[in-house]
Amino acid sequence: MSDLTTEPIIKAQSPLSEAWSMFRRNHAAMAGLVVLIFIVLGAIFGPYLYPGQPFEMVWAPFSPPGVDGFILGTDYLGRDLLAQIIHGARVTLIIGLSAAIVTVVIGVTIGALAGFYRGIVEEALMRFTEFFQVLPTLLFSMVIVALFGASLPMITLAIGVVSWTAVARITRSEFLRIRELEYVMASRASGVSNAKLMFKVILPNALPPIIVQSALMVGSAILFEAGLSFLGLTDPNVISWGQIIGSNRQYILESSFMVTIPGLAIFITVLAISLVGDGLNDALNPKLRQR
């Protein structure tokens, strides 16, 4: 046996580095990632680099981009649009991210319980999920925000509560598949408790599609927030891209740049997130890996 120990050990590629090399080959996803990193850095450091005040009137209203030293012009109250975009990025991204987290927490919990316990638990939870699925999402979230007030946490919660069903269904289907695999049986045979089976044995193996879905969820949560803000259901004390569009929407015909610019910001961000999500899907989905 001792001669075997000196044999050079050929390391196979780990799943993570394999996924990364798949992702890197996807040019669209890489472009999306670069743009996304740029946007996130802008949201974090932008306010320090560009010390404009988003809520202060600094110049004559309706001045178009590039005129009078304001790169993106001013809005209907004469506020600096670039400062608004920079400050709005933080709120927009935070809402997108935290709504996606709410979605994942609710969806994974319900999907995991339904897929693991089967039987009556599954029936009840899946009917519950279907109930939420058929609710008109925008209307339902508007009701929540209208009832409980338009604060950031409430908006986040409203978005999360209406969009967790997809995650729940994906989680359940993965659990149904994985719970029958041999290593789950082997874990059972070594005396692992149900809670550990669910969250330490099955869940890590179910993660790839859940990660992809939640990445896309960030994008749709941003769109959702924009929709709510456009309808005026937003916290007037914080600035988000949707809110810039919403507050300027009366002047869309006279000064279209005031809604076009934040609209573009949302468009680029969501597109970048979608591209990254698609890239993750290709990289994490073993069935697509052979291509």
């Binding site: 050990i9 780990s14 290593y183 082997a186 045979a189 070594s190 005396g191 193996n205």
Partner: protein, 328 residues
């Protein structure tokens, strides 16, 4: 001395769409301390179900112990709580599975998976469990255990993975190791190594082994006693050597004559390799009051079709459930 494991008149029922079928029908056997027994039979004879019943892992909602007892160390496992069974599993009774390629969790390193069992059952600290995992990898003869302990299952070959499975199963020094066709998915040369390993580990730890297989060669190599199962019933039981010399049940006889012998001289005339005609009956036929092997048996009489044959004991220690056991 009390046997370590005593199964008494075990009956396991499986609910299928067609109705309730007894996959295990009135099975009794004993397993002594430091003893190896082997369950033999074709696919679908209830070998794996017996193993799962001992582990308390019958398919939920489908299979259940209808009657009988499984007494382990004086405790009836059919009445034990789920929490108690969880304590026993992996600690006192362990199991290794058929498919080493898929029996390890792909997202954890092999070291972590071994350490996990130790932390769960023996309350070892993280560091102690990790070191114990390295020792166990060494014990199952994985070269360079210090380097391999942080490998993921996909970095190992089938034989190495089965060794890791054995390491996990033996981590807590269980009293019983159930091996469900542990070498079916492996190369012949690797099979021999795994058998060697299991034998050596048994000698070192004193673990009793229940091996499930359909490979007569494996039985001869691994076990002292064997139980031949057919359609959920015990067909024959006895010492391996005696059964191979003189089987008392036509089914056992058929199984033994199915095994080819390698001959040094190809010119030497070979005995014709026999097969057992037909297949194992479907679940719907299980539990009928007749000999279930009758349809495939070349010694069948009217009596075989009329009633289930009782077990006949021989002074060699053999037991056979056949009406014509004396004549076989």
């Amino acid at each position: 001395m009390e046997p370590l494991l005593k199964v008494e008149n075990l009956r396991i029922e499986l609910s299928t769409r067609a109705g309730v079928a007894p996959v295990i029908d009135d099975l009794s056997f004993e397993l002594g301390h430091n003893e190896s027994i082997s369950f033999v039979g074709e696919s679908g004879c209830g070998k794996s179900m017996t193993a799962l019943a001992i582990m308390g892992l019958l398919p939920e909602g489908i299979g259940k112990v209808a009657s009988g007892k499984i007494i382990f160390d004086g405790e009836d496992l059919t009445k034990a709580s789920e929490a108690r069974l969880r304590d026993l599993r992996g600690n006192d009774i362990s199991m290794i599975f058929q498919e080493p390629m898929t029996s390890l969790n792909p997202v954890y390193t092999v070291g972590e998976q071994i350490a996990e069992v130790l932390r769960e059952h023996q309350n070892l600290s993280k560091v102690a469990a990790h070191n114990a995992a390295i020792e166990l990898l060494d014990a199952v003869r994985i070269p360079n255990p210090k380097g391999r302990v942080n490998d993921y299952p996909f970095q190992m070959s089938g034989g190495q993975r089965q060794r890791v499975m054995i390491a996990i199963a033996l981590a807590c020094k269980p009293k019983i190791l159930i091996a469900d066709e542990p070498t079916t998915a492996l190369d012949v040369t690797v099979q021999a190594q795994i058998f060697d390993l299991l034998r050596d580990l048994r000698d070192q730890t004193g673990t009793s082994i229940i091996m499930i297989t359909h490979d007569m060669g494996a039985v001869a190599e691994m076990a002292e006693r064997m139980i031949v199962m057919y359609a959920g019933r015990k067909a024959e039981e006895g010492k391996v050597q005696q059964i191979i010399e003189h089987a008392r049940h036509p089914y056992t006889k058929g199984l033994i004559s199915c095994v080819p012998h390698i001959m040094a001289d190809p010119a030497f005339e070979r005995e014709e390799l026999l097969e057992i005609p037909g297949i194992v009956p479907g679940l719907a036929e299980f539990g009928q009051d007749r000999c279930l092997f009758a349809a495939r048996c070349n010694m069948v009489t009217d009596k075989c079709l009329g009633a289930r044959p009782p077990e006949v004991s021989f002074d060699t220690g053999q037991n056979a459930a056949c009406w014509r056991a004396e004549e076989v």
